[in-house]
Symmetry: C2
Subunit: 100 residues, 2 copies
Amino acid sequence: MNLKIATEIGKCLSNQIRFQILEWLKEPEKHFPPHETLKHFNDGVCVTYIQEKTKLSQSTISTYLTNMEKCGLLISTRHGKWSYLKRNEETIKQFTDFLT
Amino acid sequence: MNLKIATEIGKCLSNQIRFQILEWLKEPEKHFPPHETLKHFNDGVCVTYIQEKTKLSQSTISTYLTNMEKCGLLISTRHGKWSYLKRNEETIKQFTDFLT
DNA sequence: TTTATATATCGAGAATTATAGATATATTTA
DNA sequence: TAAATATATCTATAATTCTCGATATATAAA
């Protein structure tokens, strides 16, 4: 972790909805309906479900999630036409270690 | 800690200079000259020293530090005409706990 | 191979933040 | 009390971010 990446993470955390997504992803089964094709949350939650819950436009949520992945807060996995997002606990740990 | 305050903290951490200040304040004696009137860093570092090091205008640095104090990242103590700033480790801990 | 669905990217206007100079306030010193 | 110093606040412009609709791409289904 360095200052530049940490600040990029800070930018992601500077918006209530983005921060909220990170919180929801702590417990996907509690905050999202079960996936129909993928019978688990091992790779996180698909973009559509996150979009529905936030009520933002598809393009906005896609940009948010892409940026959160770029700075390492999220891990993205594609299964067929769906992208699944989960927290990247390793980076989050590095970030909090850097801060403290 | 709640989502609103956490996001305010995120805003402070979304700027490289503000984040840097927080890092410097981990070890004041390493990054700042000794105070002339106050013979310790127990209450942190005075605004002037922080301003000099960042090379931002006085008004900008004052605004930064005020906001960082408002969201709980910093603790401000006045001694005479100087304000001293130090990290608020308690809030920082609450923030990282909230995130993880 | 056409159509449908999921996600990504582009371009633009609205909203917010960055930053500084001017000015105000608080405190100390002469 | 007047001048000097440290910090805070006000106001305004520049820069960045927000957010969306339009469009592109990728994959699956018909």
